[in-house]
Every structure is written in structure tokens, then in C-alpha cells.
Subunit: 183 residues, 2 copies
């Protein structure tokens, strides 16, 4: 498991803005931190991805304070950082080349949000031939509306999107399953 | 609308196999056919994508009869066809180059399945800068299980996945909305 790169997607302060709606899984950050601590303890590969919104009004725009990584998941020296302006961590970034150059064929993906940037990056990683584990309780999303205007809770968005990904693009596991497999 | 290319994803016989589970939206094919007829009537651009599974046991493998396009959505002379072996129509194909070379900046996407190949292709199309309309009732998917083994109906898989895509990667419209906008 520790040969996999831990890929942290968009763990940024701007996701605390009320703009996004109601979120599920408030434990995502503590689970991300637990995995990050474990990877660091073993000197295993860690990669950070930061979203830079194009619109200056959005909380993740580089001029906004929300663009910053959350304190508990901020990169430390030697941990590479890739910036992107679309959902996929593989479009407009050097991530794919970096993974090949560093012989990293497998990824453990965590971060925000389940159905937008995490799902898109997981799909592309799987389709590009990487072996992907997605950590169900180290990601989270927001409530949305369906085409008829009906409310869908954040937990339902999360659960159904993970069901679409599992077995097709990745294997979905919990933080505890991963920590147990290591120790 | 007719300047957009109609992109048909994996409208293949193999999706009639019971292997995939219970499907929603049995009208997807008749809606696809209605859009296809309209695009052909106006000589508007049409592109077919065919999935070629790598495993010879799967219904969409090139050696299986299910690899064939459904009769009602099969390409006619002059309509380009791209083959793929992963979910995204943009990975391992010449589709992105073809769209740029033919000055096609917008797409109307239909086909199978909502949450696997259609969602992945829609996400990549949007992230690559194309303007995408996804036709909600001209796509369909199958029931799945969540991480806890709980059943999720095909209609719920479909509805929630469209909610994740709408407004972020594409605009979701119905077949009738598109036909009305044209006529």
C-alpha cells in the first residue's frame, strides 16, 4: 500500500465557504490527516493537488484566502504540488508525466469533492492505467438538486457516486482498512 | 444547436445482455434515434464511439456479437467512428484532435451508460474546453450496490449522476427541449 502515492485533491480552505451548500462526512479531514501522517512516517510518496478557480469571485481563486491548503493537510518540504483549473488533476498539469517518471503506478486518492474533482480524477487515473484506491471516508461532497429541482442530500450524492466508481475505475476502501493493511 | 456534433457513446447490442443488471429509461434508444434523424436531416455533424472491451468474455469485446452497434443507431456513410477500450471517449482515440480539426467546439452527448462511459466522456469533454449538452432521456444505466452492499436502483444511479454533471461539466437537457430548440 505504501508504494502507492497518496494523492490529496483540493484539500483547501475555500471549501469551508457556505457557498457550496450542506456537506456530508465532517470526518474527511481527520481521516486525510491520519493517512498523511502514516505516509509521512514511512517516507512514502505524497502528492498535493490544488484547484485554482478561473473566476475571481470563487473561494478557490488564487487571489482568495480560500485558495490556501487547509492547515492540517498543507504540503511540507519535498512533497510535490500540482495546480489545476479544471476538475481533473490530469488535465493541464504534469501529474501523469510525474507519476511515470517516478515509477508510481498506483494511487490512494483522498480529498474534495467526491463527485466533482475526486470522481473526475479517479476516472481519468483508472482510464490512464493507474491502479487506484479511493478512500470513501476521506472525501466528502455537498447537496445538490436533480433536473426536476428535487433536493439530493450530500450523503446520497456521495454514496451513489462512490457506487459508480467502485469496481469500474478504482477499489473503494475506508481509512481504517488502509491503516490496518499497513500495520 | 445543429452546429454541435451529436456524439453517440457505446450504443451497442451488448448492453442488452442480462449481465449488467436492471436498466432504467427504456426510451433512451428511441430518443437517440429521434436526435440522430434530426441531425441527419440537417446534415449536421454526427460521431459514433464504440467500446471494445479488453476481456474476451465481455459482451462488448470485438469478437462478440454484442460489440455491434444497435441497428437503429448504426453509422451510415460519412459518419466517423472512434473505438475505445476505456470509459473515456477521449483516451486512446483521435477524438479530441478530430473535433479541433473540424472546428467542432460543442457536443450533444447521448448513449450508454449514464454513470460510466457517458459521465466520464462528458467530464473530460467539459474539462478539455468543449461546450457540452448531455441529453438526460437519451442515456440510461443499471442498478448497482453501494459500499455496504445496499441496492441502488438504476433510476437513482441515473438521477444522482446527472445532478453531479449538470452545471459543472455540461448542461443537461431533454430530447424534446433540443428538438424544440431546433424546430
Amino acid at each position: 500500500m505504501l508504494k502507492s502515492a497518496l494523492l490529496l485533491i483540493d484539500v483547501q480552505k475555500g471549501f469551508d465557504s457556505p457557498l457550496w451548500g450542506q456537506r456530508n462526512n465532517p470526518e474527511a479531514e481527520s481521516n486525510i490527516t491520519a493517512l498523511l501522517a502514516e505516509w509521512r512516517k514511512h517516507g512514502a510518496p505524497i502528492i498535493h493537488v490544488k484547484h485554482c478557480s478561473v473566476s475571481s469571485q470563487l473561494p478557490l481563486h488564487p487571489d482568495q484566502p480560500g485558495n490556501a491548503f487547509k492547515d492540517e493537510a498543507a504540503p511540507i518540504s519535498g512533497e510535490p504540488e500540482f495546480t489545476k483549473s479544471v476538475n481533473s488533476a490530469f488535465i493541464g498539469t504534469g501529474l501523469e508525466d510525474y507519476l511515470h517518471e517516478n515509477d508510481l503506478g498506483s494511487l490512494v486518492i483522498v480529498g474534495l469533492t467526491t463527485d466533482h474533482c475526486v470522481s473526475t480524477s479517479t476516472r481519468m487515473a483508472g482510464n490512464l492505467g493507474f491502479d487506484v484506491t479511493l478512500v470513501s471516508d476521506a472525501t466528502a461532497t455537498f447537496d445538490r438538486k436533480d433536473a426536476g429541482g428535487e433536493h439530493i442530500s450530500a450523503e446520497d450524492m456521495h454514496r451513489v457516486n462512490l457506487a459508480s466508481l467502485n469496481g469500474e475505475f478504482c477499489v473503494v476502501k475506508t481509512t481504517n482498512e488502509i491503516l490496518k493493511a499497513i500495520n
